[in-house]
């Protein structure tokens, strides 16, 4: 029986619920952008959204297709240069939540977006780190959003693009990092959180209709389940409506031939 929402919607709604009006989020394109704007349009109208293109406090009416859409700038409180964004805003530790995607993540939440295989003769050359290495270091918390598969959830990543917890334990603090790192991984099957001691990613809740076996099969290491494992609350109708409206506006705005005019200069 169909649950009445997609697994993408489940991820977006779940991510949105983690946010509050006090958060300043460093937002990536795609699911993170949908989640952050859903939070803004529902329970967290005061949330500050920041895109690495330099737009601060942006309130787009439709989701951007690129990290630097004009819509982001037009609806922002202000737009700063890219050096300023990385220097004054990210590096200085002013961002509470950073969202990252991953081609691979390992059991200690290290993230690979660089290469599959060896660096010099890769099997697959991925886009690379972009803002992620320093986002992972300087946002107070990192939320990772990615589909669950054994190829993506691996014992050890081929290349550490962005540091999570290294080999676990106190590795992160030992590097001099004072931020919390990846505190939450949201997949299409479950939520995972690092174990407080070992920092190994551990299943915190299963999405409705998902069982342990499915998660085990989709994870590349012998994944552990939290003692108080629960079910992730499903999306509510109100959340789905706001999200679907947003996605519909977005699709319409970005349809070929539909020129959204830049403002007059």
């Amino acid at each position: 029986m169909s649950p009445g929402y997609t697994s993408e919607e489940m991820m977006v709604v779940t991510a949105a619920r983690q946010l509050s009006s006090d958060d300043t989020c460093f937002v990536g394109i795609g699911t993170p952008s949908a989640a952050c704007n859903l939070a803004r349009l529902t329970h967290s109208p005061g949330i500050t959204l920041i895109y690495e293109s330099g737009t601060i406090g942006t309130r787009p009416d439709v989701l951007p297709l690129s990290i630097g859409d004009g819509e982001l700038c037009e609806t922002a409180l202000t737009t700063v240069s890219v050096p300023e964004m990385f220097q004054y805003w990210l590096q200085a530790g002013r961002i509470s939540i950073g969202f990252l995607g991953a081609a691979q993540i390992d059991r200690f939440a290290n993230i690979n977006t660089t290469v599959i295989g060896g660096y010099h003769r890769p099997e697959v050359r991925l886009p690379g780190g972009g803002g992620a290495p320093e986002i992972a270091s300087f946002c107070e918390e990192i939320f990772v959003i990615m589909p669950h598969s054994p190829r993506a959830m691996v014992p050890e990543v081929d290349f550490v693009t962005s540091f999570g917890f290294g080999s676990g334990g106190s590795d992160r603090a030992d590097l001099g990092l004072v931020t919390q790192g990846p505190t939450l991984v949201i997949t299409d099957l479950c939520l995972m959180r690092p174990d407080p001691e070992t920092k190994e990613l551990t299943v915190a809740s299963l999405h409705p209709g998902v069982d342990r076996e499915q998660v085990r099969e989709s994870t590349g290491w012998g994944v552990a389940f939290g003692a108080d494992l629960g079910e992730t609350p499903p999306p509510e109708q109100g959340e789905l409506e706001v999200l679907r409206d947003l996605m519909e506006r977005t699709a319409k705005a970005h349809a070929p031939g539909h020129g959204r005019e830049g403002e007059g200069s």
Binding site: S53, V82, F86, E134, V160, T161, R172, L175
Partner: protein, 272 residues
């Protein structure tokens, strides 16, 4: 005062085989027209620097202009891979491509240092990442006051920087508005020449604020009017991003033959 000239002349004068060139623009104001002119003029052995190579560098790489790429995120934004970049890295087609790979923070700081006339950029970064292991231009040093370990990368100092801006006045002052990216830094970091294409050359720059982002005429070497010169990216206040082309590029660029045909039809055979 910069030369007010044609795009063809500006590129012929300032971009030479073997040069290190930055064509910047963070999603916004990407200098496509200028990049296509570099392809038409058949430049070779370029070192290209750009945080987000985007379609324009995919095209330059596929056209065989590029020996080396310095970058921090090499994808088609919102779509997927840059297939010409991948084909060069994975298969050496149409020629081997050496890469130097950074994070955005490193490149943003390296541009900043270049603009500031500093030889090196010091920042908090690369902690725990494998990138320093594969890029020898990433080093670390200790703050002499606190002992904190900081990342260091050399300043970016290209031979030539090429950017696109909204407009220039007749004296050659250039206005950049909206998502300003690293264009000002890239321009000020150039060792030899700064080439700017603009949507229009006007009597009055119409800077909205006393604090607008402006390159004074004496910091620019050549200005060429190139309306639409940022398409399929966009120019805030002039036209929007052609998202459909970004999607279409995925199919065009996946196939070498189809790419070659596109290049023939849309760039080599097209007037500047």
């Amino acid at each position: 005062m910069p030369a007010m000239t044609s795009l063809r002349e500006a590129i012929a004068t300032h971009v030479h085989d073997g040069d290190t060139v930055c064509m910047e623009g963070f999603t916004h104001l990407i200098p496509f027209a200028a990049g296509h002119e570099v392809i038409r003029q058949g430049r070779r052995d370029l070192t290209l620097i750009r945080m987000t190579p985007d379609l324009i560098y995919d095209q330059l790489i596929g056209a065989g202009c590029v020996a080396r790429l310095v970058f921090s995120w090499g994808g088609n934004p919102g779509v997927g891979s840059l297939h010409r970049l991948r084909d060069a890295v994975e298969n050496g087609w149409p020629r081997a491509l050496e890469i130097e790979e950074h994070s955005h923070a490193a490149m943003a700081n390296a541009y900043w240092a270049g603009a500031a006339g500093l030889p090196v950029a010091l920042f908090r970064g690369y902690l725990g990442s494998d990138l320093p292991a594969v890029n020898e231009s990433i080093r670390f040093l200790d703050d002499p006051f606190t002992g904190e370990r900081l990342a260091a990368v050399p300043a970016i100092r290209p031979d030539v920087t090429v950017i696109h801006a909204q407009r220039a006045d007749r004296e050659g002052n250039v206005l950049i508005e909206g998502i300003v990216g690293v264009q000002k830094e890239a321009a000020l970091a150039a060792r030899r020449a700064v080439v700017v294409t603009v949507e229009e050359i006007v009597d009055d720059l119409r800077a909205p604020s006393h604090n607008s982002v402006i390159l004074p005429s004496w910091s620019v070497d050549a200005i060429a009017e190139a309306p639409g010169g940022a398409a399929p990216s966009y120019a805030h206040g002039y036209y929007t991003r052609d998202n459909a082309f970004y999607t279409e590029w995925d199919a065009i660029s996946r196939d070498r033959e189809r790419f070659r045909q596109w290049l023939e039809d849309e760039v080599l055979g097209a007037p500047p």
